[in-house]
């Protein structure tokens, strides 16, 4: 029966690939720097999902420890990135990624 089908590691890895691709597309298409940051979060989450799926498959807890470190780095990255964004948008309101070709504030 279809109800007895149990999702395998492959399903999780495929979902993670789709999520990563959507995030990559968003980074390339969107011009609002805030939304680009959100798309980077999507890509990090896709990698986290595949880490956990493979940790369960291999029976190795190290994969879940790696996700913990990815979370810490993602938090630090968002803090620094949004700080840069706040100081840029304060001097140039409404700047898009195309306007930020030079880093000079």
């Amino acid at each position: 029966m279809i109800a007895d089908v149990v999702p395998t590691t492959t399903w999780y890895l495929l979902l993670s690939a789709v999520l990563f691709g959507i995030g990559a597309m968003g980074v390339l298409v969107r011009r609002n720097p805030l939304v680009i940051f959100m798309c980077i979060e999507l890509m990090l989450n896709a990698v986290n999902l595949s880490f956990v799926a493979l940790a369960v498959r291999f029976g190795d807890i190290s994969g879940q420890t790696a996700v913990f470190f990815v979370l810490v780095v993602a938090a630090a990255e968002v803090v620094v990135g949004l700080g840069i964004l706040v100081s840029i948008l304060r001097s140039r309101p409404g700047a898009t990624a195309d306007d930020l070709a030079e880093l000079k504030g």
Binding site: L14, L15, I22, G23, F37, N48, F69, A76, V78, V86
Partner: protein, 176 residues
């Protein structure tokens, strides 16, 4: 039952991700991000990574998305982005090609190793054994990296404070 959970959580993840990249308003994109993060947390619960599911909800949905919304409100950039205007004509088709290509390559690799993927001993998942295993790994083998994350967080916070306060300090210097 597992199938139903997987399908529903995957639908949440994909719908949220689509909302992030398609919505014109940054606030709606942030709400789509919340939907995706909750879907990933449901997947973590289904994979019996209970600690990471809790951390996912607390840190990502609780802290990071609130930070995003806070910056959106602070800067007033919640105006809708005009998606019709396109400075670079080739950008959007090229992005779709690259995104679909990435999905295709990774999916092909996953499907190729499907039958040869090693199968280890299942992790213990009764009671609090997940968090015990995680703690034993984190505080024995990875304790140096764990200490380095505290340095990383301090540097990130201090750097952000310095970066965002500089303007006001220079203005006061001009006045005095």
């Amino acid at each position: 039952m597992e199938l139903l959970v997987f399908v529903l959580a995957s639908a949440m993840v994909i719908a949220g991700a689509g909302g992030v990249i398609l919505s014109r308003n940054p606030v709606h994109a942030a709400l789509g991000l919340v939907l995706t993060l909750f879907g990933v947390a449901v997947h973590f619960v289904a994979l019996e990574a209970h600690f990471l599911a809790a951390v996912q909800v607390i840190v990502y949905a609780g802290a990071i998305v609130v930070l995003f919304l806070f910056v959106i409100m602070l800067l007033g950039v919640d105006r809708a982005e005009n998606i019709e205007v396109e400075p670079l004509k080739v950008q959007r088709p090229l992005a779709i090609v690259i995104g679909v290509g990435t999905i295709g390559i990774v999916a092909a690799a996953v499907l190729r190793v499907r039958s040869t993927l090693a199968q280890g001993e299942p992790l213990q998942s009764d009671g609090d054994s997940n968090i015990r295993q995680l703690a034993a790994d984190l505080f024995s083998d990875r304790v140096f990296a764990f200490e380095l994350t505290s340095v990383l967080l301090i540097v990130a916070v201090a750097g952000t404070v310095v970066m965002t306060r500089r303007q006001r300090a220079s203005r006061e210097d001009d006045r005095s």
